[in-house]
């Protein structure tokens, strides 16, 4: 009996989480739709006979707001309880987050440090991040990858990669 009630409680928690994330994501989409709608008004709506540049974006934005509101209602009424995915529970979301941060740093540094240095640094981090990997291996594989990528894309395919302040 105890396990049954525990299970019930867990289901309830999952349902609540689902409702919350559906609400949050829908609120975000409502915001997005509103921003586009406001922008459309500024562009000029025109009339149906002579549509302005903002008319169709406005309609699209309004529909997005409408469907997102409906999603909230749907989640509140608890129609979709079968779809339970504990968002971050038991997942190595820290790894995904670190990779994302490393990649945003890559964009930021690319123009400063140049392709070779930035790629080498980022690849080293990526090779090291996911599972236990010796530093020596990570550095070696990263060096090899960067060198091959530079040879293939910059030398053979003539891509113009940014050079950093170091001159390469």
């Amino acid at each position: 009996m105890v396990s049954l009630s525990n299970h019930y409680r867990l289901t309830l928690i999952v349902m609540t989480i689902m409702k919350t994330i559906d609400t949050f994501s829908s609120l975000f989409l409502i915001l997005l739709g509103s921003l586009f709608s406001v922008g459309s008004f500024r562009l000029g709506i025109g009339t149906v006979n002579a549509p302005g540049p903002g008319l169709i974006p406005l309609g699209t934005g309004a529909l997005l707001i409408l469907f997102s509101l409906a999603t909230i209602v749907e989640a509140r009424l608890g129609k979709r309880v079968e779809e339970k995915n504990p968002l971050f529970q038991g997942k190595r979301w820290g790894v995904a987050l670190s990779v994302l941060i490393a990649l945003f740093a890559y964009v930021w540094m690319l123009d400063i440090l140049g392709f070779i240095v930035t790629t080498f640094l980022t690849m080293t981090i990526l090779f090291k991040i996911s599972e236990k990997q010796k530093w020596k291996t990570a550095l070696g594989v990263s060096g090899l990858t960067t060198a091959s990528a530079h040879f293939l894309f910059a030398y053979l395919l003539k891509c113009n990669f940014p050079r950093g302040f170091l001159g390469f």
Binding site: P57, K79, A96
Partner: protein, 501 residues
């Protein structure tokens, strides 16, 4: 142009040494990414799109199409040997394929999926040739209202078939439309929603969006899971199924082909769904349905044929109407437009070599794939053993370089990463990427068709309902959306009744 001179012209184009090479590269890469987890055909095609800017349009499409159907072959290998589908379209192949491998029939399972794919792929191409011409002729009579309604119904079917909530899928389609409006308005020449960011004047690029949602996000999701892939250690011998197995598979292959082909034509149908339906049909028709899931060869032959036939079918709406049936086709449509081709009935008339060259190259491609996948299966198994921790940085590096090389600008990398983050969160929150991307590609065409229709009708929306084809299409779209709401309210009423009485 009649069909035979078309085929002849097509073979003349596709049999040139350069195009044979492009076809081979395409199917080779397709098989590779089909085998590898973490990147699918959409991500790969958009990744390689910039590389095709300088080649002939027909060569570009031949190669990109090869990636798509090549991935269908490669995906089945991982399903059978590792019990992990390389692509969504090979998920069901795991059920019986892996069990066959465990019973020592890995060779036969790989063999039947390759032969089934070959037969279905080839029949699908034949179907494509015969159906495309009359449809394109019909489509020449379509005006803006018909196009607008067809695109509406296409998007609605896609969201209707989406996993999870149709409302969420519809929202994603609308977000895709909104994103497509960013940039210079084609009619007034005014910049829209660019926030004075100069690179946004040309719009948000298709390639960074697709690579973000289907490349970067996919890698991030995979990184969260600790993937343990154990290749089934077995000597793969005898790739030829025995006579008994052939006899049992024959019907499945044919049924799979028909199911796959016609579902492929439908928007949102495509390879994945047709493989599921084929499996269901085989199970239902079987004299021993209870044995499905324990290594029944029909359960491999049917779905594997279906997903390959679907590829042929999916090209029909693209080439005849210019409306992509699924996300891969949407990216191909983007590729055609980058090469200055407007897909649709005019394409068949004005640039027949594109259509026939691509179609006939698919015969070659299927033959290449048979060679690549049967005698060389050992190589793919070795590649399967490359650990993901080595693989994912390489996939990411390719995406970074691919995005940068678009305009030699870090802005496109940034856009890709933002959509990578968005795609990752979308997966977490249960939103699908496919409707977004398809709507993004259709957006400018839909807006133009809608504006033109309103000009024709002097601002009256009745034009969409007074023209029969348009009325049927829009009616279907509205009915599908309504059908989503009605059972919902009905169910709600029932629970209220239960509670109250």
């Amino acid at each position: 142009m009649d069909i035979f001179s078309g085929i002849l012209g097509g073979f003349a184009a596709s049999l040139s040494l350069a195009n044979l090479l492009y076809c081979f590269i395409g199917v080779f890469i397709g098989t590779l990414i089909g085998v590898l987890p973490g990147i699918g055909p959409v991500g790969t095609i958009s990744l390689l799109l910039p590389a095709t800017f300088h080649v002939e349009p027909v060569s570009a499409i031949i190669m990109l199409a090869g990636i798509y159907y090549g991935a269908m072959y490669g995906g089945s290998t991982t399903s059978i040997l590792v019990n992990i589908p390389g692509e969504a379209a090979s998920v069901v192949t795991c059920l019986d394929g892996y069990q066959m491998a465990r019973k020592g029939r890995a060779g036969a399972a790989l063999g039947i999926s390759a032969f089934g794919s070959f037969i279905a792929g080839t029949l699908g191409v034949i179907g494509l040739m015969f159906l495309a011409l009359p449809l394109a002729k019909l489509a020449l009579k379509f005006g803006p209202p018909e196009y607008f309604s067809l695109m509406c119904v296409g998007l609605t079917i896609l969201t209707y078939l989406a996993r999870g909530s149709m409302l969420k899928a519809l929202s994603m389609a609308l977000v895709g439309l909104l994103l497509s409006f960013v940039g210079i308005d084609a009619i007034t020449g005014l910049p829209r929603f660019t926030m004075d960011v100069v690179p946004l004047m040309d719009g948000i690029g298709l390639v960074p969006i697709a690579m973000g949602i289907f490349g970067i996000a996919e890698v991030l999701i995979n990184l969260e899971e600790v993937l343990r892939r154990e290749v089934f250690e077995t000597k793969i011998k005898g790739l030829f199924p025995n006579r008994e197995e052939w006899k049992r598979s024959k019907g499945s292959i044919l049924r799979g082909t028909i199911i796959g082909f016609f579902l492929g034509v439908l928007p949102g149908g495509g390879a994945a769904i047709s493989s599921f339906i084929s499996y269901g049909v085989e199970k239902k028709l079987s004299r021993y349905p209870e044995k499905f899931g324990t290594g029944v060869i029909e359960g491999v032959a049917g779905p594997e044929s279906a997903n390959n036939a679907a590829v042929g079918g999916a090209f029909i709406p693209l080439f005849t109407l210019g409306i992509p049936a699924n996300v891969v086709m949407a990216v191909l449509l983007g590729a055609l437009m980058i090469h200055g081709m407007i897909p649709g009935p005019m394409l068949l008339r004005d640039h027949p070599q594109i259509f026939w060259g691509t179609v006939t190259s698919m015969y070659m491609g299927n033959a290449f794939l048979l060679l690549l996948n049967l005698p060389l299966i050992g190589i793919w198994v070795k590649i399967l053993k490359v650990p993901y921790r080595i693989l994912f940085p390489l996939i990411i590096l390719f995406c970074l370089i691919g995005a940068y090389s678009l305009n030699s600008n870090t802005f496109d990398i940034l856009v890709m990463l933002i959509f990578g983050l968005a795609g990752y969160l979308m997966r977490k929150f249960g939103y699908e990427g496919a409707p977004l991307l398809l709507a993004y590609v259709l957006g400018p065409m839909m807006e133009q068709a809608l504006r033109q229709s309103l000009l024709i009708s002097y601002g009256s929306f009745t034009i969409f309902f007074t023209r029969p084809i348009s009325a049927v299409a829009l009616g279907l779209a509205i009915a599908m959306i309504a059908s989503y709401f009605f059972p919902f309210f009905k169910k709600r009423r029932l629970t209220v009744e239960e509670e109250t009485g």
